[in-house]
């Protein structure tokens, strides 16, 4: 299952990752945080299970999506820090 790879775009950069991983896990491969808090701090996934919303980012045009709850898909467009 991990042999299949998909290509996604993160902040405009092309990234090839194993199919089935979460967007959070894909973004972590670039060592990028997910968003900036209202006070300007960098934040990254915290609860890993869709509760804390720290990993929210824009996925395929939809803002505020939880990256830990979303699996990568070929051609996906992801942007962090919005």
């Amino acid at each position: 299952m991990s042999d299949v790879r998909v290509r996604i775009h993160v902040n405009g950069h092309l990234l090839e990752v194993p199919a089935g991983i979460s967007v959070a896990a894909a973004v972590a491969r670039l060592q990028l945080p997910c968003r900036r808090s209202v006070g300007g701090q960098w934040r990254a996934p915290f609860c890993g299970m869709g509760v804390c919303f720290e990993c929210r980012m824009r996925i395929d045009g939809q803002a505020q999506q939880r990256a830990c709850m979303t699996q990568v898909r070929n051609g996906m467009q992801v942007s962090t820090d919005e």
């Binding site: 991983i21 894909a26 945080p33 960098w42 990254a44 915290f46 709850m69």
Partner: protein, 428 residues
Amino acid sequence: MSERYDIVIVGAGPAGLAAAQAAARHGACVALIDAQAEAGGQVWRKDVFHGWPRRARQCIPQVLQHAGVSWLPRTQVVQAGAGELLIQDDKQARYIGYDKLILANGARELLLPFPGWTLPGVTGAGALQALAKQGWPLQGRRIVIAGSGPLLLAAAATAKKHGAKVLGIYEQASAAAIQRFARKLWRWPGKAWQAASLRTQLAGIPYRYGSVVLQASGTDVLQAIDIDGPHGREQLECDHLAVGYGLVPNIELAQMLGCRLKYEGAHACVEVDATQRTSIANVYATGELCGIGGRDTAWIEGSMAGHAAAGADIPHALLQQQRHARHFATALQQTFALAPRIRTLAQAETLICRCEDVPLQALHDHADARSAKLATRCGMGACQGRICGSALAELGHYPRSAPRPPLFPARLATLGTPLSDPQQGLSP
């Protein structure tokens, strides 16, 4: 009503799966809903590279492929009322009707504030396990696992399997408490076996008792942590800190339905009778929702609720198993009860509400969660107070306020979903 089921089950972890299996065997038409893409819940979360845990591997496909079970993955309950739920998936929102509702939506981690807990690189302990299983890169990462409870060991084993370098496990409970517990473990042979197996998997990883992470530090990302243990304070450099202080039941849905709650310590759970029925006649609650009980309790109580909701008798053996499993849960709670110092780790400037960046010092002098919220925005962010509300309750400030719809942030179109039958059920 276009879409209607005899029994709707919310949550596809062990409790929900067992409920679906039992109810479907009695011929009930069942819908099984889960917010995640794969069934299994947290304890049986599917690993992208290693699949489901052994016990789940057989049972999950069986349940999902049963003709009587409609599997609704990536679906969240946004609003709940008598006989009807408003649900939302990737594409659309709709109302579904139920005769009986079984709540099996489990628990989340108790994540408590300390200086530096908002730094990237700091996660929950169960969170580390969940992230590893969803493909989070851990190869060669230096990880410290801390907090309390058996979940720390499971998280360490998963992290190690994914190539992490686990520097140590720091448990807040005292050595004496753990030893007392170990001496009682023979009463649950399955658990004793599990503990022994984890010990083998974790050979070479230090396991320290009576130790607490005081703070995490780094510029924009975690670089080091300070630990206070029986032999004093030490600093450790690491790439990842996974710290969790146990679990809290996800009671929001039950609360919205009006199910009677009871308190176990600082956190509420759902009150049920001997058939897992809540104070609302056609609503059942199972597993962690009724008080943290672990995987075995969840499976047994899910099964009980499945039988009961389908109108069948609950097999006597299940009741005995439930008692045995709940005794184990009580022993765990006593062993891993939080030391008072855990509640004083947050400093005046430590952020409590991570969504709205509200520090502890802004939260003094408020009588309840509502007035704190109105004055500071604490709990008004995307997580809807699930993290800070539980933390404040544990810290002894005030209990969480009751949830209001939507239960999770929802699309605007979802909130405008027309009722199939405006005469009954939820009023939008």
